[in-house]
Symmetry: C2
């Protein structure tokens, strides 16, 4: 049985969504932030980084959203509804790329933007850097998406989870006015029954 | 035949190192930065993000260091010298976690620190955040390493490439005084024949 250690409010809602898409048995342990919006000691007791998402499966304690997706789909998505088989190695590699890309490339400039916005203090180098990088990445995602419903084509995959997270972060930061196809993509994903079930379980 | 699109000076030297560890046939196309240390249009012609590393293998064009490592080792490391088999799924998952972790968690605070240092301008929120996160991650890496030679135990794996990159970035930023086991780890990795061959090919 999988246990998801879920910190409210944060990115682990996206792992909860993935678990709902998979439809496996799982349990959710919920953690709350303190008054400064920081994770507390209870989460640090689970994983030394004190971050979320973390999943537990028997002896395995796993962090990093992309690695968690990789593990869960390799274990449960054996008919390859949501991830390509390694038998087509090039296709699997492209999926790995789109799985790594959100946290590996898109998150850092969004984080900088979030922190300059929240603090009300811009920075002469970091602020213009973050805006240029965010535009580069959102345009790249929009180009990849094209007229498709999902990031790897016409069917939903594990790679859509992280991409949806990045765009929804862009929405919260008020950055999406120029990317109608991306906001439509997020709206489409957030209407999925599994997403709604995750919100029901992880937010309400 | 693999082609590595290699931007000097930057992280693609670590992909070159991986290729040397694998020992497969590959070709290196080298790109230079402009006077502002930016990648130029020639790299943008290869990949829309204009970043490096990118590898080409026939029709496959692949970015994201972790995905490239995943692809190359799945394709070439068939006797699992440098990555665990999926047959032991928990072990494979831990490897995926340590493959995702450098770019997914450690890089962002190092990038912030590099840009505040280079600009000579601190930020009231980003600067203390980056220093706290860097300490958290370097202590976590040191705990994981323990007395082992490599991040997953006593043998070198693909996960050591990204971890080495993060610590060597920490070294360039003058942040490693408190982490003797991590500087010893980098020194050990940088003495490997494959690393020296990569430096010979990619830097000189």
């Amino acid at each position: 049985m999988i246990t998801l250690h879920h910190l409210r409010i944060g990115r682990s809602i996206f792992t909860l969504w993935l678990l709902e898409e998979i439809g496996c048995d799982f349990d959710v342990k919920t953690y709350l932030r303190d008054e400064n919006f920081r994770a507390q000691a209870d989460l640090k007791a689970v994983h030394p980084l004190g971050k979320s998402p973390v999943i537990e499966d028997g002896d395995l304690l796993l962090s990093e959203s992309g690695a968690i997706t990789n593990y869960l789909l390799t274990k449960y998505d054996t008919d390859h509804r949501m991830h390509p088989s390694q038998d087509n190695l090039a296709q699997w590699a492209r999926y790995q790329q789109w799985l790594a890309y959100p946290e590996g490339s898109v998150f850092a400039p969004l984080l900088v933007k979030m922190m300059t916005l929240r603090s009300g203090v811009e920075h002469p180098v970091l602020s213009p850097f973050s805006m240029a990088e965010i535009a580069l990445h959102f345009n790249h995602i929009a180009d990849q998406l094209g007229d498709n419903d999902f990031i790897l084509g016409d069917s939903f995959s594990g790679a859509d989870i992280g991409i949806t997270y990045m765009i929804s972060m862009g929405e919260r930061l008020g950055l999406m006015a120029d990317y109608p196809s991306l906001t439509a993509y997020v709206k489409r994903n957030c209407a999925r029954p599994a997403f709604l079930a995750a919100i029901e379980k992880g937010v309400e």
